[in-house]
């Protein structure tokens, strides 16, 4: 084999590897070192596991963990159920103009988090927002979307669902289109109605894509920062304080870099297990 061909892959991968080492690997390691230090006025003192001990006794961290967990346990399944329904509908042979629908439902995904956060904040304004105006038009009371702790969580869930459902539906749809039509025909011959066909043909066919969307949504949800930051700044009364928001506050509002790094590592450990699953799903695809 010629030397050029032997060396070529290293040369091609070198820029990526060098950039990765400088801007990802080094910060990952540095972050761990930082998490063992307390930074005061730019001077770092080694404090061992102190930041991690503090974390365990920090009620705000547990609030952030709980808030993130609530979104994870409630919003993600609801969204993926909606996405599955949407994918099945988009896959139906009875549907006209499928491309238009697929595109329309995907569009929210293209919108930046800040842009849709601003729009939602104004639409959901308690006194002047369009949503409450419509609700009052049909005789309902105004809903304190962003100012009540429970409703703020619901608003956050609504925004996330609006943004990501179509994207997940498109991933599921691509998978559905590879389920052979003969399977549905066979199910019909066996006398299966739409519901049984869904349970015994559609769902098993969707399994790998469902697993992928579950894992991606879980990892994304654990890290959410932009939506709660733009919508409510983590409030009211810390109702939408997520781990991402708390980490950002500690790092860039209080400049407590050591503690922020400990939070980051706690988050990384949390994601680690799920990340392994993700890596398996994504890595096994070649």
């Amino acid at each position: 084999m010629r030397a050029g061909r032997r060396l070529a892959p290293y040369a091609f991968a070198l820029p990526a590897l060098a950039l990765f080492a400088a801007f990802k690997l080094y910060p990952i390691l540095r972050s761990f070192v930082l998490s063992l230090h307390r930074s005061v006025d730019g001077a770092d003192t080694f404090v061992g596991a102190d930041n991690y001990v503090r974390l365990l006794h920090d009620p705000l961290f547990w609030t952030a963990l709980k808030n993130t967990g609530v979104v994870l346990v409630i919003q993600v399944p609801v969204m993926l159920a909606l996405a599955t329904g949407l994918a099945v509908a988009l896959n139906s042979r009875l549907l006209r103009a499928r491309a238009v629908f697929r595109l329309g439902f995907f569009l929210p995904m293209v919108t930046g988090l800040v842009a849709y956060g601003v729009v939602f904040a104004v639409l959901l304004n308690e006194k002047y927002g369009l949503v409450n105006w419509l609700l009052q038009g049909i005789g309902s009371d105004a809903v304190p979307w962003l100012t009540d702790p429970l409703w703020a969580k619901i608003s956050l869930a609504l925004a996330l669902t609006w943004h990501y459902t179509g994207y997940n539906a498109v991933i599921l749809l691509a998978r559905l289109q590879s389920v052979p039509a003969e399977l549905y025909d066979a199910a019909a011959v066996d006398g299966a109605g739409p519901w049984r066909a869904f349970r015994h043909v559609t769902l098993p066919g969707l399994r790998p894509a469902l697993l992928l969307t579950v894992v991606l949504s879980t990892i994304g949800t654990l890290q959410i920062f932009d939506e709660p930051w733009i919508l409510t700044r983590g409030g009211p009364d810390n109702a939408t304080l997520t781990i991402g928001v708390y980490l950002y506050q500690n790092a860039f509002s209080y400049f407590d870099f050591g503690y922020a790094s400990a939070i980051a590592y706690a988050l990384a450990v949390l994601i680690g297990l799920l990340g392994l699953v993700q890596f398996k799903v994504l890595g096994d695809t070649s």
Partner: protein
């Protein structure tokens, strides 16, 4: 074939489905319509009762205020320049790496690829603080390179390109080599041309990713003349007398043109992304 007797029932079900979905889609698109309306209205009109449902005549005034409060022309240019440079740079880095991992067998291949994919698993928050310190030490705060460089080797982009390059037949490369093609020329002349759809998908993805990115630019860009659109919009919000007409006009500039670009190029984008996401 559909039995003739079942046809009317099927037709009805098809119509119900189409109209049901159309209704759901209309609800999903309301924020876009409302954004277009609000961008052309003054703050007073936006928060008036009833809220405006049709476009008004305040767009130029909103844009003027935006320019005055946030130097928005400069901000848009920043966003465009950063996203363009990033797309080219990250596109090159990811495509080269994706090709190396897809089409060569070499020592350390799996280890190195696994290392890069670590970037998918480790949350971005872990690196925020050290990266910020690194940029501060390099005196790179408020510079384009501080925004662009850290995400240039984007793991998702590398993954996507490896997936797409995998579909390229080895025979094509071998015949190029037999013809005496060097490795770099092989890449440029033989590999890249058939990869055009995948490259388009990668390009759209990278551009959108950078155009919409918020947290990292928020951290490294502090000077009002260096901001990108999302950061500038976020900084305008929360000031005591927030001018929502201006903010929403800026938001429309951030969202509507990229939505339009996406709609024209989407064929490449969606199919290209899915090639990476759901292959067996």
């Amino acid at each position: 074939m559909t039995p003739a007797a079942g046809a009317p029932a099927r037709r009805l079900r098809g119509l119900t489905l189409s109209w049901g979905l159309a209704l759901a889609l209309a609800a999903v698109l309301v924020p876009f319509y409302w954004l277009a309306v609000a961008a052309t209205r003054s703050s007073a009109e936006i928060f008036g009762s009833p809220p405006p449902l049709t476009p008004g005549g305040h767009l130029t005034a909103n844009l003027r205020n935006l320019q005055e409060h946030a130097h928005f022309g400069r901000v848009v240019l920043n966003s465009l320049a950063i996203a363009a440079v990033y797309t080219l740079g990250a596109g090159t880095v990811c495509t080269l790496a994706g090709y190396a991992f897809a089409k060569y067998r070499f020592t350390g291949r799996n280890t190195l690829f696994g290392l890069l994919m670590l970037g998918l698993v480790v949350p971005a928050q872990v690196t925020l603080v050290p990266l910020f310190q690194l940029m501060a030490d390099l005196r790179w705060l408020n510079t384009y390179q501080a925004v662009v460089l850290p995400n240039l080797a984007l793991p998702f982009g590398i993954f996507l390109m490896r997936q797409s390059m995998g579909a390229l037949p080895d025979e094509l490369l071998d015949s190029g080599r037999v013809d005496g093609c060097g490795e770099l020329r092989l890449f440029l002349k033989v590999v890249l041309p058939p990869m055009r759809p995948a490259l388009a998908a990668l390009g759209i993805f990278l551009f959108l990713f950078q155009w919409n990115d918020f947290v990292w630019p928020l951290i490294v860009l502090r000077d009002s003349d260096s901001l990108t659109i999302p950061v500038a919009l976020a900084s305008l919000k929360g000031v005591t007398d927030t001018d929502y007409g201006a903010i929403l006009a800026g938001t429309a500039i951030a969202a509507l043109p990229v939505a339009a670009v996406f709609l024209t190029l989407q064929r490449h984008f969606v199919s290209g992304l899915l090639a990476g996401a759901v292959k067996e």
